[in-house]
Amino acid sequence: MIEQVAFYILSAVAVLGALLAVSRRNLVHGVFALLLFFAALSGLFVMLLADYVAAVQVLVYIGAVGILLLFTIMLTEHVTGDDLRRLGVRGWFWGLLLAVAVPAVLILPAVLNEKSAKAAPIVVAQGNPALANNATQANTVKALGKVLMEKYVVPLEVLALLLTAALIGAVAVAHAPEKDASGKDTPA
C-alpha cells in the first residue's frame, strides 16, 4: 500500500516536473523543474531496487547536468526572451498530436493485453520473488561493481575514453574564438 502511494506521488512529481521543464518560459525555472523530475525519477529507481543507478542519477543529473545547464543559460543572453509567443498553432497542434500518439501506441497494447487473450507483445512479469526476498541494496551495488570491473571492463574503459573525449571536445567547441589579424571572429 505504501509502495503504491509512493509510486503515485513520485510519478505525479516526475510528470509535473517534466511538464514544467518543457513549458516554462523562464529557463531558469525550467531547469529547477527538470531537477525535480530527475529527483523523482531517482526515487522511482530506488523503488525498483536499483539503488546504485538512483545514486548515479542524483550525482550525474542533479549534480552535474543541472549545473551545466544553469551555466549555459547564464552564458547565453536573451534566453528568456520572446520565444513563448512563437509557439505557433501548427507547432502546438502537430507536436501535441504526436506527443500523445506515440505513447499511446506504446501503452495501448499493454493495457489492452490484460483484457484480451491475444499473445502479448510485451511480456508482463509479476515481479520476481527471488529478487524481492534476496536482493538488498548492498548486494546490488557489490554485484554491479563486480560485473562492471570484470565482464564490462572494456566498455567501461571505452566509456571513460568517451567521456574524456567529450570533455575535450566540449572545451574545444565552446572555446572563445580568437581574433585574427583582420579583427574578424574565426570559429574555434
Binding site: 507547432g91 502537430w94 507536436g95 504526436l98 500518439a101 506515440v102 501506441v105 506504446l106 495501448l108 497494447p109 507483445p121
Partner: protein, 636 residues
C-alpha cells in the same frame, strides 16, 4: 708458376681500371695502368713458357658464376699454346700502346679516364683470350665491345666520335646476337658451355643434335661466325671499323688493329673443331677472301691516313679468315694474326706519330716530305709497311705465304683472289708511303719528330715486324698444330711477284705525280665512297628499320584510337537507344524514368527540408508511430 695464376692476367688490368676510374691525375693513372700491364705481361710470358713446355690444354676453374639445377656456368680459364700466344701478344702490344698513350694523351684533361677505359679493354680482351667457357668468352667479348665504344667515343664532344662509337657498338652487336644464339644453341644441345672439360667439353664432345633440320655443329659454328663477322669487321658488317678511327690513335692501334678485331678470328680458331665438324670452313674462307679483296680496293681510294690503315686491317682480317677456312687447323690464320698485330700496331702508332708531328692533320694530301722531318718514325713506319706488303723475309711475308699456300691447296679461285688482294695491298701501301714521305710538305705547319716516349714503342714493334716471322714462325706454327705442307713454287713466285710488282706499280703511278693537287688516278668515286656500303644500308636496312618503328607507332596510335573509339561508341550506343523507339520502354522503366522519378521524389523530399529541427523530428516521430502501429496491429 702454377696455372692458377692465370686469372691474374686479366684481373690485374681490371684492378687498374677500377683504381684509375676515380683518379684525376693522368700521370699516376698511366703509371698504375702500365704497371698492371707489365705484371700481366710477365705472367703471360711465364704462362707462354709453361704452355710451350706442356703443349696440351690445361684448365683452371675459378668460381661458379651461376648454378641452376644441373646447369652450371663457371668462370674457368684455359691455357694452351693458342691462348698463351694470344695473351702474350695482347699484353705485349698492349703494354707498348699503353706507354705510347702515356705520351700521346698526356695533355688531355681526361687522361686518367682514358687509361681506365684502356685497362678495362685489356681486361676484357685477356678474359676473352683465356676463357674456357663460351659464356665467359661472350661476356668478356661484350666488355671489349663496350670498352671499344667508350674509347671510340672518348672525345665525346665531337658528334662524329659519339656517332662512330654508337655505330661500332650496334653493328658489332648485330653479330653478337648471332653469337648469343650460337651459345644458346650450344647450351641447349650440349648442356654445357665449358670448352674443355676432361673430355666432356663442348669442343671435345661435339653436339650432334638437329635443330630446324640442320646439324647442331653446323648451326652453332654458323652463328658463332656471325659474332666473328661483327667483331672482325668482315663483309657485310665491316662498316663500323673505318668509322672507329674517330677515336684517339692509340685506340685505333690497340683495338682496331692488334687486338679486338682479331677477337673474331680468334673465336673461329678457338672453336675450330665445331667449324670442322659443321663443315662451315669454306664459308669462312670465302667471306674472308671477299672481305680482303673489297677492303683492299676501298683502301686505294681513301685519303685519311688512318682510314687507309683501317681498310687495310679489314682486308688483312679477311686474309686471316682465309687462312682459317682453308687449313685443317687454325694455325695459319692465327700466325697471320700475330704478325699482323705487330706490324699493324706499328703502322697505327706510326700514323699517330705522323699525325702528331703534322699538328693533328690526317689527310695524306696535306702531308709529304715527312721522311726528312721525322726520320725515326719514317724508318719504323716503312718496316711496318714492308711487312704489310709481305716484302720477302719480313714477318708478314712468312705469314701471308702460309695463307696463300693453304688457299692454293684448298681452292684455286680463292688463291687467285688472295693474290690479287696482295697486289692491291702493295699498291695502296706504296701510294700511301709516297704521299706521306716523299716530296715537299704540303701542310700548313712544318712537321716535327715525336718525343722518345712515342718513338720507342715504334722501334720495338719495328723489330718484331721484321723479325718475328723468320725467327719464331716455324715453332709457332708447329705449336699451334699446323700440318707441314709443301711450298709450291707457284705460290712463292706469285707471292714475290705481287709484292714487288705492286710496289713497282705504285711507284710508277705516284712517284712523279704532283700529289695533292692533281686528281688521283686510282681514287675512283666508288672506292672513295667505300662502295656505297653505308648508303646501301641506309637505303635498305635503315629504311626497313624506320618503317618498322613507324609501323609500331602507327599501331600504337591506332590502338589508342580504338580505345577512344570504344568510349565514344559506348556513349553513342546509349544515345541511340535513348532516341529510338525504346525511349518509352527502357527509358521510362529504367534509366531516365527511374532517374526522373527519383528526382521528383527528391523534389517532394526537398519540401520537407525546412531546415527546422523540430520539423525533422516530427517526421521521425511519425515514422516511429507507423512502426509501432505496424508491429502491434498489422503484423500478424
Amino acid at each position: 708458376m702454377s696455372t692458377e695464376k692465370l686469372a691474374l692476367i686479366p684481373l690485374l688490368p681490371l684492378l687498374a681500371a677500377v683504381l684509375t676510374c676515380g683518379m684525376r691525375c693522368g700521370r699516376r693513372a698511366a703509371a698504375v695502368a702500365i704497371g698492371a700491364m707489365s705484371l700481366s705481361l710477365a705472367i703471360a710470358l711465364v704462362m707462354l713458357a709453361n704452355a710451350w713446355a706442356h703443349g696440351g690444354v690445361q684448365t683452371v676453374s675459378l668460381a661458379d658464376w651461376l648454378v641452376v639445377g644441373a646447369a652450371k656456368i663457371q668462370f674457368s680459364l684455359l691455357l694452351d699454346p693458342l691462348s698463351a700466344c694470344m695473351a702474350a701478344m695482347v699484353t705485349f702490344v698492349g703494354l707498348l700502346i699503353f706507354i705510347y698513350s702515356s705520351g700521346y694523351m698526356k695533355d688531355d684533361p681526361r687522361c686518367a679516364r682514358f687509361f681506365c677505359y684502356l685497362s678495362l679493354f685489356a681486361a676484357g680482351m685477356l678474359g676473352l683470350v683465356l676463357a674456357n667457357n663460351l659464356l665467359l668468352l661472350f661476356m668478356s667479348w661484350e666488355i671489349v665491345g663496350v670498352a671499344s665504344y667508350l674509347l671510340i667515343g672518348f672525345w665525346f664532344h665531337k658528334p662524329a666520335a659519339a656517332a662512330a662509337g654508337k655505330k661500332a657498338f650496334i653493328v658489332t652487336r648485330i653479330g653478337d646476337m648471332g653469337f648469343l644464339i650460337g651459345i644458346l644453341l650450344a647450351f641447349t644441345q650440349a648442356g654445357t658451355l665449358e670448352l674443355f672439360d676432361n673430355g666432356n667439353g663442348l669442343l671435345e664432345k661435339i653436339p650432334t643434335g638437329v635443330v630446324w633440320g640442320i646439324g647442331a655443329a653446323k648451326l652453332i659454328s654458323l652463328f658463332l661466325f656471325c659474332g666473328a663477322i661483327g667483331k672482325s669487321g668482315q663483309l657485310p658488317l665491316h662498316v663500323w671499323l673505318p668509322d672507329a678511327m674517330e677515336g684517339p690513335t692509340p685506340v685505333s692501334a690497340l683495338i682496331h688493329a692488334a687486338t679486338m678485331v682479331a677477337a673474331g678470328v680468334f673465336l673461329v680458331a678457338r672453336t675450330f673443331p665445331l667449324f670442322v665438324e659443321g663443315q662451315t670452313l669454306p664459308l669462312v674462307a670465302w667471306v674472308g677472301g671477299l672481305t680482303a679483296f673489297v677492303a683492299a680496293l676501298i683502301a686505294l681510294g681513301q685519303y685519311d691516313i688512318k682510314r687507309i690503315l683501317a681498310y687495310s686491317t679489314v682486308s688483312q682480317l679477311g686474309l686471316m679468315m682465309v687462312g682459317l677456312g682453308t687449313a685443317a687447323t687454325g694455325a695459319v690464320g692465327m700466325f697471320h694474326l700475330f704478325t699482323h698485330a705487330f706490324f699493324k700496331a706499328l703502322l697505327f702508332l706510326g700514323a699517330g706519330s705522323i699525325i702528331h708531328g703534322c699538328h693533328e692533320e690526317q689527310d695524306i694530301r696535306r702531308m709529304g716530305g715527312i721522311a726528312r722531318a721525322m726520320p725515326i718514325t719514317t724508318a719504323a713506319y716503312l718496316c711496318g709497311a714492308l711487312a704489310l706488303v709481305a716484302f720477302p723475309f719480313t714477318s708478314g711475308y712468312f705469314s701471308k705465304d702460309a695463307v696463300l699456300i693453304s688457299a692454293y691447296g684448298a681452292d684455286r679461285n680463292l688463291f687467285y683472289l688472295c693474290a690479287l688482294t696482295s697486289l692491291i695491298t702493295a699498291l695502296y701501301v706504296t701510294r700511301q708511303c709516297v704521299y706521306v714521305f716523299i716530296g715537299t710538305h704540303r701542310g700548313a705547319q712544318a712537321p716535327h719528330e715525336s718525343p722518345p716516349v712515342l718513338t720507342a714503342p715504334l722501334v720495338i714493334l719495328a723489330a718484331f715486324a721484321l723479325g718475328l716471322g723468320g725467327l719464331a714462325g716455324n715453332s709457332l706454327l708447329a705449336k699451334l698444330g699446323a700440318k707441314h705442307s709443301e711450298h709450291p713454287f707457284a705460290v712463292i713466285a706469285t707471292s714475290w711477284a705481287v709484292a714487288l710488282g705492286g710496289m713497282l706499280l705504285g711507284w710508277v703511278i705516284y712517284a712523279r705525280r704532283d700529289l695533292g693537287r692533281t686528281t688521283d688516278p686510282l681514287a675512283l668515286s666508288a672506292l672513295a665512297n667505300k662502295f656505297y656500303f653505308d648508303e646501301l644500308y641506309a637505303a635498305t636496312v635503315g629504311r626497313l628499320w624506320t618503317a618498322l618503328t613507324w609501323l609500331v607507332v602507327m599501331l600504337q596510335e591506332l590502338l589508342a584510337g580504338v580505345c577512344e573509339l570504344g568510349v565514344q561508341l559506348t556513349q553513342a550506343t546509349g544515345q541511340f537507344f535513348a532516341r529510338s523507339v525504346d525511349v518509352r520502354l527502357i527509358d521510362e522503366l529504367t534509366m531516365d524514368g527511374l532517374a526522373r522519378r527519383f528526382h521528383k521524389g527528391g523534389e517532394v523530399a526537398t519540401g520537407f527540408q525546412t531546415g527546422l529541427l523540430s520539423g525533422y523530428l516530427r517526421w521521425i516521430a511519425l515514422g516511429a508511430l507507423a512502426v509501432g502501429v505496424f508491429v502491434h496491429w498489422l503484423w500478424k
